[in-house]
């Protein structure tokens, strides 16, 4: 009997993205995935209207914004956009589905046949931005549908109940379902793709991508190809793991199935065939997948065109407007920052990680140029100040935020304006501001109520500008030499290293307002003539 020689993993990914429209997919009740939606204030079953409840006589009206957002994602993933797209009913009975059907798209999806090049993670699971390979991931389709309601198995406050309860606030919210080809061969690749997709959706402004809130849910379709010692190939039956809402769960489920499927095959000898696919859930505590109901075959959903909806036409105008509205995506920006601004890969990656930070960075560059910073230097100079003075304060504020809060304070949220960052850098370039003073000024401008403050005027008012006063410089140097006689002797004797102590003393005496390079020059002139 032949034994297992090797096992190859094969994964395709389905992703559901809640689109952040203000209203639902087919009616104008508020949608829970919207940025402005206040979860704390909205009671369960309050975002409802006759259509959400599937009441007789209610008719769906397609949300134009949802179609637009779906097209943006489709275009970003290299998809073709159907000029004519249709809506179908997928029928099944479940307590979270008031109409007993979900409006979806079956054979004429909005977006189809795409592909995107993904930077491949290295052995540590992270992309090495200085040196990486890419892999092309095929996109089968991306179609629009509506979400179901939420089923809860315990009452609010964790009270046990021996029944289930339903909240329909989520029912009818727009979902974009993206389906990839089974092009992934490691769990790392799937996670890297999921992270990239999240970043793209955030850049496009179609989702905040907060996984804990269910903004994105992942469903990997996993199987393995086993090579036996006699050379025969066996494909294990496909397992779809439903509703994963963290990258950790995605990785865990895939790694578990990769290890488990060959054993399962040895026990049960079930190979891949039509109808052999099974659906499993993920147990986050036990870190294993659990068998769920046998998935109904597509035909069992009895898809048919929704008689209440007409096809949607995407004309050339709309398509081109949408294409033009897509901002440069994170990968392309990262490359531009490295190539054009001379940033290190790590710096560039830190700046493109968050859409708001990235846009803020570019606004600061424009402001710096306007304030007189040399064009070729602005990108690097802004990156330095944001990743030092900015990141430091953003981290402090994040750590200081209320305990248990996951809200991360971004560099772009500190309060300082791009114009002010530009002014600071211009003062630095003109030699008017020392590096410590620049950092202090940055901090002052992050304080509340400083948005309209002129950075130059504030620096002047606070006495932060470098003093170009030869008499004062002379006094500070004399005093520093008097205080540090030994160091002064050493400098006189030609020991350059000793001058640091004297420069430090002068800077201290000047309150940081002396120009360090000028101080050095003045001290040498005094001591060595």
């Amino acid at each position: 009997m032949a034994e297992i020689a090797s096992v190859q993993l094969k994964v395709g990914l389905e992703i559901h993205v809640q689109l952040a429209t203000r209203t639902k997919m087919f009616c104008r009740a508020p949608s829970v995935a919207c940025r402005e939606f206040d979860h704390k204030q909205s009671e369960p079953n309050s975002c409802i209207d006759p259509l959400v409840l599937g009441l007789p006589g209610s008719l769906p009206v397609i949300n134009r914004e949802a179609v637009q957002m779906a097209m943006m994602v489709g275009l970003a993933l290299g998809c073709s956009i159907a000029p004519l797209t249709r809506w179908d009913r997928k029928s099944y009975f479940y307590p979270d589905l008031p109409k007993s059907y979900q409006i979806s798209q079956y054979d004429l999806p909005l977006c189809f046949d795409g592909a995107i090049d993904m930077p491949l993670p290295g052995e540590d699971g992270r992309v090495n931005w200085d040196d990486y390979d890419t892999k092309r991931i095929g996109i089968i389709r991306a179609h629009l549908e509506e979400d179901a309601g939420k089923l809860l198995h315990e009452a609010p406050g964790g009270l046990p109940i021996d029944y289930s309860i339903v909240d329909l606030n989520r029912a009818g919210c727009p979902l974009l379902e993206i389906v990839t080809h089974p092009d992934f061969t490691t769990a790392d690749e799937v996670v890297a793709f999921a992270q990239m997709l999240r970043n793209i959706c955030r850049f496009l402004g179609v989702s905040e991508g907060v996984l804990q809130k269910g903004h994105m849910r992942f469903e990997p379709n996993i199987n393995t190809v086993i090579t036996l010692t006699d050379g025969r190939l066996v494909k294990t039956s496909i397992v779809e793991v439903k509703n994963l809402n963290s990258f950790k769960a995605v990785r865990g489920a895939i790694e578990y199935e990769f290890a488990e499927q060959p054993k399962r095959w040895q026990r049960e000898k079930v190979e891949m065939s039509p109808g052999s696919k099974s659906t499993r859930g993920w147990d986050d505590v036990k870190m294993q997948t659990v068998l769920q109901r046998e998935k109904e075959e597509a035909a069992d959903y009895r898809y048919f065109p929704d008689p209440d909806l007409l096809p949607v036409v995407v004309d050339k105008n709309w398509l081109e407007q949408t294409r033009a509205s897509i901002p440069q995506l994170p990968m392309a920006r990262l490359k531009r920052y490295i190539d054009d601004f001379g940033l290190h890969a790590k710096e560039a990656a830190a700046l493109v990680d968050e859409r708001d930070v990235c846009f803020f960075y570019e606004e600061c560059i424009a402001a710096a140029k306007q304030a007189g910073v040399e064009s070729g230097k602005a990108g690097k100079a802004v990156a330095n100040v944001l990743l030092q003075s900015g990141a430091k304060r953003a981290n402090e504020r994040s750590a200081g935020a209320s305990a248990g809060s996951t809200e991360q304070v971004l560099i772009s949220d500190l309060g300082i304006m791009p114009k002010q960052v530009g002014q600071i850098l211009a003062m630095r370039e003109r030699g008017e501001l020392g590096s410590n003073a620049a950092d202090e000024l940055f901090g002052l401008l992050c304080e509340p109520g400083q948005a309209a403050t002129d950075a130059q005027a504030l620096a002047q008012q606070r006495g932060m500008l470098i003093v170009r006063d030869d008499a004062a410089m002379g006094r500070w140097c004399d005093e520093a030499i008097a205080q540090n006689a030994k160091a002064a002797e050493d400098v006189k004797a030609g020991k350059d290293a000793a001058i640091g102590r004297l420069v430090g003393a002068v800077m201290k005496l000047s309150g940081g307002r002396a120009d360090a390079a000028g101080v050095r020059e003045a001290l040498i002139k005094k001591l060595r003539g």
Partner: protein, 109 residues
């Protein structure tokens, strides 16, 4: 997601009728099931006749109507008070609808 079925047999078995009925939560009497079998089979036979046509180069019809959808602006409109839903619910655990215990998080999607 699989492609639409293309090999439905023209004559529908009584078991197939029962299966479809079950999926739709219907329990037809034996007489009705037989009647549906005849009616559904004749529809499928008609579809088969259409299939025999050579439709190469004919654009698929997305809808029998010429009209296309008007799209709605993404502006919030009126909602129903939760009490309306509570009044309609056969069982409730306010402000939720109460249903028999179900496992898992969703039936489809």
């Amino acid at each position: 997601m699989s492609t639409p079925p293309t090999n439905t047999p023209a004559a529908l078995s009584i078991e197939a009728v029962r299966k479809v009925a079950k999926l739709a939560r219907l329990s037809p009497t034996p007489e009705k099931a037989q009647r549906y079998q005849g009616q559904l089979s004749s529809i499928l036979t008609y579809i088969d006749r259409l299939r025999s046509l050579d439709l190469k180069g004919v654009e698929p019809m997305a809808s029998p109507l010429d009209a296309t959808s008007n799209l709605g602006a993404d502006r919030p409109g009126p909602t129903l008070p939760t009490s309306v839903l509570m009044d309609m619910a056969p069982q409730k655990h306010e402000p939720f609808i109460r249903v028999p215990k179900v496992l898992g998080d969703g039936g489809g999607a």
